[in-house]
């Protein structure tokens, strides 16, 4: 099997453009609904989340299900009627309540009321997340800053090791991967009410680190081929490089995605969407390395009159090859 990536590049590009456009549309829609491109979770919006599991669930002796109407009554008594409620767990034995940011007294009285009317709850499986608005902004700002610094660092390193044009297209590919992941989560936010938390920022950064790997491996091969065959057209060099590394790209994506799929299917609640974000980003990353970064590089070199081998592309590792 040989992929003709250069010949069909307009197909690859339009495919990506389409997915990204849908994602941006979803983000615009989210902006109207939540005032943010993605549905912000507790970490960014601030608020309090209580996750309470009934004590009877430990021995599996709950006589009936949690009565949500009753919970709503308690919430409205405390002036928290705008809170959202969710039942979790196999037998719906866990109650998750998200409210505005409560201080310790408000929270204590809410918990006491719930414990009395709906409970008792098991203290060992309690989970409280309470995030003030200041912290939310802080988390978001530090995450975005980390993302920008990572981008800058990668551009710097790649321009040192390769050339500036390689680095620029690697970043284009990265933006592509980040946009696709954002788009998919915007859609998930609109349809399944999936919220993003600070782990999502971690996921984006990991995607950046990983998908640049894929791009680097192909670039490395392009650089090597340019050196070996200075008389070949850049389009052929890129085609060769992509095909030579194709098995590796597929196998690596497979081996990285396998444990992640296992986490999505069997893992705990917290890591589920983190792993999903990584899977989407890694697959987008493998795609963009093969179909976007390399084809853009070829196009750029062709347009700027560098279609044939460039002696400046000397990879130092190859200079002393044992062969």
């Amino acid at each position: 099997m040989k992929l003709h990536i250069i010949k069909q590049r307009s197909l690859w590009w339009s495919l990506s453009a389409l997915v990204i456009a849908i994602g941006i549309g979803a983000m615009a829609l989210s902006w109207q609904q939540f005032g943010a491109p993605l549905r912000p979770g507790l970490d960014f919006a601030g608020g309090t989340r209580l996750q309470l599991t009934r004590a009877c669930a430990v021995e599996n002796t709950c006589p009936d299900d949690i009565d949500l109407a009753e919970v709503r009554q308690i919430l409205s008594q405390q002036g928290l009627e705008s809170s959202s409620l969710q039942l979790l767990g196999q037998n719906q034995e866990t109650l998750s309540i998200r409210t505005i940011n409560l201080d310790v007294d408000e929270r204590t009285s809410l918990q006491a009321a719930l414990d009395e009317e709906v409970g008792p709850f098991d203290i060992d499986t309690l989970q409280i997340d309470s995030v003030g608005p200041v912290i939310g902004r802080q988390l978001l700002a530090s995450g975005l800053l980390a993302l920008l610094v990572a981008f800058a660092g990668i551009v710097g390193y790649l321009s040192l090791r390769f050339k500036l044009d390689y680095a620029v297209f690697a970043i284009v590919a990265l933006l592509h991967d980040v946009l696709i992941t954002l788009g998919v989560f915007a859609i998930l936010g609109l349809t399944l009410a999936v919220e993003i938390d600070s782990l999502f920022i971690v996921a984006l950064l990991t995607i950046v680190g990983f998908s640049v790997n894929d791009t680097v491996v192909i670039y490395d091969r392009i650089r090597e081929n340019l050196k070996l065959h200075p008389d070949r057209h850049i389009n052929d060099v890129v085609d060769d490089a992509v095909n030579q590394t194709l098995t590796r790209s597929i196998n690596t994506s497979l081996t990285t995605v396998l444990p992640l799929v296992a986490i999505v299917v069997f893992g705990g609640q917290t890591l589920k969407f983190f792993a999903l974000a990584l899977i989407i980003g890694f697959l987008a990353g493998a795609y963009s390395s093969i179909f976007i970064a390399s084809t853009l590089l070829a196009l750029w070199r062709e347009r700027t009159g560098q279609a044939y081998g460039d002696s400046d592309d000397t990879p130092e590792a190859l200079a002393e090859s044992p062969n």
Partner: protein, 472 residues
Amino acid sequence: MAKYRTWLGIIVVLTIAAVVVISQVPTRLGLDLRGGSQLTIQVQPTETIPNIGEREMEAVQTVVEGRVNGLGVSEAVVQQLGNDQLLVQLPGVSDPQQAERVLGGTAQLEFKAQRSGTEQQLPIENQVLQSHLGELSALQASVPEGTVIDPETRERIEQLQQEIEASEAAIADLFEPSQLTGDKLTDAIARPSSGNLWEVVIQFNNEGGNEFAELSREIAGTGRSIGIFLDDRLLSAPTVDVQYAQTGITGGSAVISGNFTAQSARDLEIQLRGGALPLPVEVVENRTVGPTLGRDSIQRSLYAALAGLALVLIFMAVYYRLPGLLADIALIVYALLTWAAFNLLGVTLTLPGIAGFILSIGMAVDANVLIFERTREELRSGKTLYRSVESGFYRAFSSILDSNVTTLISCAALFWFGAGLVRGFALTLAIGVLISMFTAFSCSRTLLFFVLSMPQFRKPNLFCPGIATARP
């Protein structure tokens, strides 16, 4: 082949050392895995101290540490976060509410003499305050169960809260400022007084004892009272009997009564022992995970990850055959070395940290995939087995180096700018990537060449299916 034997020896020793480390040095688990509370405390500037500097933060930290000790939580950690925040970690805390209450209050205790000429005003102001408080609690109780508070009532409640604040301020105005504060205490003990009520007995230090004697002497027999204030709110205003007019109350001890329950008396006791905070603070973040919940999530995610890894190991052996099998061994060695490194370096494993570890295993696999793919290519181009393996390692090196360095760059960005969970992830991923570079080039390589030194394994189709076996 002696060279490979030496390396093989080193790897075996390292692996054994890693196993010993793992069994001897415990893995440090984050609060999200073993349960506990993590609080972020924001220190707030006041009019008198508008800028929070290093000294203020240290003073606040000392007080917070004192209170944390009072809570009796073992292995608690208090550390500074940025310029004006403290991070408090309380493993296995059983009552997160108490922790938040105790750590959040300023606990500024003051003993003030009543201004002369205000003897009539105090009971009046007090009555106003009590009537407001009474109305407020009646209002709150009047809302029938299961109904929404109507806007009218809510407005009245807010109005009452403002009036209560105003009359508290008015009462505070009736007392003279004083030097006798909670930092002149040596001890505080909560004890039951009468009925369900509790009180807190305090013991002054020498200076405080003298000041208290002086204060009580001044007041004794005048009909004015000593106002005991906590955070500018009057707790009680006892008068002093005329018999103390000569000497004042000596002995350096006093009783604070008020409407204390057992719980609030205990809270005050801890706060007073720890001392007052020089600046007001607010708990801006609370993350509490029950101990069982943490254990459940670690187990589920670990099992999931192990299942995924098992699939990866099987895939490697099936697809890459002999080298894949050797890479599997190298990966297991890698996982052991990394785990031991976490324990030795004291890395606290959190849920994202485990995710970082799993991802670094992915990177380690990638290094091997790169090498083996390259080896196969060289074999297909007609090179000998030995040369192909040699050049597979050689040529894959720059790819592996570049891709790992870019990952390390993003780890560094995450570590410097990220907070809490994000940092844990960056740290484990970075350590993992560094060790994976080592194992790919020492462990996988040594094992491969060691095996190649044995003639029965020197068959190209063990490396690449479908290639002619005749070549040596």
